[in-house]
Symmetry: C2
Subunit: 126 residues, 2 copies
């Protein structure tokens, strides 16, 4: 039985944020040469540039908690995964930051899971 | 000269929110049969269902103001447009609502502009 879009989205987010919150450099295999990241308006392309940015963010520890997820099919087997959530940086649990993020996942060759073609991250300032 | 992704995104958002804020039913031509809208977690497909939802939202007047826009190329000439902004419903200008929204635009046949394949809207509660 094929996983539903929601099941794929949920499994992806669990894997992505768990990896982000424990060992950001291990996110590299999720990106390919044409992958784009927009992080608070800054643009990066390809695994090295993207993971370079993510591993150099100005906090030591971080924990993401998704509060909503929307998933839609796109083209060529792709999925748009839209997340809103809270982010706790450096243990400041009393001051979580709100964020929203969109991932555009594409199926890997030969059924090898999904990779991230598009990644847009924005903090939502109160 | 072809418009850049940012130029397309900016022109699309201006047109989309101006139309939304003045005559929501006129948004129908932007959607096609396979278009999906996720609105606060509710899903709709096709122009009639999507515009039916948008014209039945619980406010009489609304004004969108985008505060950030990120645009990335996707596949088959598509563009991912990610917006954060403020929304004033029924003139409550002292209490704007924060929102984020992702549009996945696809080029029309024969250079006929872009249409919306994917549309995800979420309010960002403080």
């Amino acid at each position: 039985k094929m996983a539903s879009p929601d099941e794929v989205g949920k499994a992806f987010l669990m894997h992505y944020y768990q990896t982000f919150d424990t060992s950001r450099e291990a996110l590299a295999p999720l990106y390919q040469a044409q992958s784009c990241l927009s992080f608070e308006g800054q643009q990066f392309q390809g695994p090295a540039a993207i993971v370079g940015k993510l591993t150099n963010l100005g906090f030591k520890t971080v924990a993401h908690q998704a509060t909503s997820m929307d998933v839609q099919p796109t083209v060529a087997g792709g999925l748009l995964v839209f997340v809103c959530g809270n982010l706790v940086a450096d243990g400041e649990a009393e001051r979580p930051l709100k964020f929203s993020q969109a991932f555009h996942l594409m199926p890997g060759e030969g059924g090898a899971g999904y990779w991230v073609l598009n990644d847009v991250f924005r903090l939502n300032y109160g």
